[in-house]
Symmetry: none
Subunit: 276 residues, 2 copies
C-alpha cells in the first residue's frame, strides 16, 4: 500500500520496505549531513510526520546513537554511532582483502571490474573498482542488472538447478535492451549451457550498447559457485576477441577470492566452536 505523500517536492524519501529499514535510512540521512539538523528540516526532507520523526529521534538519543545539541534543538551523530562506524571500517577486512583483489585486477587490466552475485532474480554488484580511464561506464555499487543480459548472470544461472532456473526466468520477463539481448528462453538456455561449458561468459553489448563484459565464476566450496568476478569496458577498448588477454587474469583473481572465502569460513567455524 502507498504511504501518504501529499507534498510534491523532492522529499528524498526514505526508501525502505519496513519501518526498521526506514529508521536506518534516517540515520543515513543524518550521517550524510556535515551539520546538525532540526526536526523540522528532517520532516521536510523525508516527508514523514513530525510525531513519527520525534519518536524515532527520541529513541535514538536514548540509545546514544544520536545526541542533541544547541539547547536540544538540533540532532547530530552520537558516540555510539561513531564507535560503530570505526569498528565497522577496521573490521571490514573481508571487504578489504576482496577489495584489494579487485584493485590489483583493475591495475592489471586497465578496465573497471566487479564482484557479483545473484540476488533474487537480478545480479547484484557486491563490490566494484573503476578504471582511471577518463571514459567509462558508471554503475554504482549495490546496483543491479538483469540476469539474462549480463555475463555474470548467464554464468550464475548455470549454477542453479534446472528447476529453479526455469521458475526464475518465468517470473522475470526477458526485456529487450539492445539488438543483441537474448529474449527467448530456449535460446538463453543454450547460451547458459555454452557459458558453463567454456568456463566463462561474455556480454557482447546485450545490456547497453557499447558495453562489453567478461566474467568467470569464483570457485565455491563444493561444486556450486555463487559469485562472479568480471571486467567491463567500452567496446572499442574491450572486445569479445580479447579473451586471451583478460581471462587468465580473471581466473587468477577468482582463485584469490576463493582463498579469502576459505579463510573467512575457517574463522567463522572456529568462532562457533569456541562457544561450545
Amino acid at each position: 500500500m502507498e504511504r501518504n505523500r501529499p507534498v510534491s517536492d523532492q522529499p528524498s524519501r526514505l526508501t525502505g520496505s519496513s519501518p526498521l529499514l526506514r529508521m536506518f535510512g534516517l540515520l543515513e540521512l543524518i550521517a550524510s549531513k556535515d551539520h546538525l539538523v532540526s526536526l523540522q528540516t528532517l520532516a521536510q526532507e523525508t516527508g514523514l510526520p513530525k510525531p513519527t520523526l520525534h519518536r524515532m529521534l527520541a529513541s535514538f538519543v536514548a540509545e546514544g546513537l544520536l545526541i542533541r545539541q544547541n539547547d536540544r534543538r538540533l540532532y547530530g551523530t552520537g558516540p555510539r554511532l561513531r564507535d560503530f562506524a570505526e569498528s565497522l571500517l577496521m573490521n571490514a577486512t573481508q571487504h578489504g582483502a576482496r577489495h584489494a583483489v579487485l584493485l590489483a585486477l583493475v591495475e592489471e587490466l586497465g578496465e573497471t571490474c566487479n564482484i557479483t552475485a545473484l540476488s533474487g532474480s537480478e545480479v547484484l554488484y557486491l563490490d566494484r573498482v573503476e578504471t582511471n580511464e577518463p571514459l567509462r561506464f558508471h554503475l554504482s555499487p549495490g546496483s543491479r542488472v538483469p540476469v539474462h543480459c549480463s555475463a555474470s548472470g548467464k554464468l550464475l544461472l548455470g549454477q542453479l538447478p534446472a528447476e529453479t532456473r526455469r521458475s526464475l526466468l518465468m517470473h522475470a520477463p526477458l526485456e529487450q535492451y539492445t539488438d543483441a539481448t537474448i529474449t527467448d528462453v530456449a535460446q538463453l538456455d543454450a547460451e547458459v549451457e555454452k557459458c558453463g561449458q567454456q568456463g566463462y561468459a561474455i556480454d557482447n553489448e546485450e545490456f547497453i550498447y557499447g558495453l562489453v563484459c567478461f566474467a568467470v565464476l569464483v570457485p565455491g566450496g563444493h561444486g556450486r559457485s555463487r559469485q562472479c568476478i568480471a571486467v567491463q569496458g567500452p567496446s572499442f577498448r574491450l572486445q569479445p576477441s580479447d579473451g586471451d588477454r583478460v581471462l587468465p587474469a580473471l581466473r587468477r583473481a577468482a582463485e584469490a577470492l576463493r582463498s579469502i572465502e576459505v579463510e573467512g569460513r575457517a574463522m567463522g567455524l572456529a568462532q562457533s566452536e569456541a562457544s561450545a
Copy 2:
C-alpha cells in the same frame, strides 16, 4: 560501558528497549567481528531464536546492508554499511572541533595535516587542512592512499589483530611506488612492529618522491586506536630527522582529539540518562 565481547559468555542479550534498537544492536555485533558470522553463531551469542534472526538478517541483506558469502552460509557487512560508516566519520558532528585542532596544528607546524582512518584495505582521509606554503601536495579529503606506504597506514596496521593483518596483506597488492616503498610482507611486518614500539610512523618518500610524512595514533577509548593524525610536507622542508620538532605537536593534537571524543561521549551519556 564495554561493548565488544571478546569471547562468548552467557546469552548476553542485545541491549535495546525496542525491536528497532535491537536490530541496530545486531548490526553492531556483526560489525564488531573481524570475521564473517553464521546464523548459528549469532543465535548463540544473542540468545535470539533462529527464525527471528533469520528474518532480521534477510531484510538487512535485501537492503544491501549485509551480504552473504561462502555459499550463503556466512554474513558480513555490505557496501551500503561501509558507505554509511565513511560518510558518518567524515561528517561527524564534532567535525567543527576536530577541524579546529587541525587548523591549530597546521598553524604551528606550517605544513599540511590530515586525520586518517583505515577503510578496507586503504587509508581514508577524514579531514585535512592544507598549509599556505605555495608548494604543496594536493590530495582532497575523502581520497585514499595505500596502507603499506603511508605513515598512518603502518600505524593502523599495527592496531589490527595479527591474523587479520596477515590476511589483508596477503591479498593486497604491495605496489612499488618509489625506491623506498616496502613491498615485502615480512619486511613490512617488521616496520609495522617498529612503528608500534616507538609510537609514531614515518613515510620517507615511500609513496611519492619528495613527500615525507609523520603520523601518530589518536588514543582510542578501548585500547585500540582507529584514527591517526599526520603531518606531511616536501622533503626539503620536512625530513625524517625532524621528529623532535613535529612529534610533540602531533601528540598534543592527538590528545586534543581524544578529549573531544571523550566530551562527546560524556554528553551522550548525560542525554541518555536524562530520559531514563
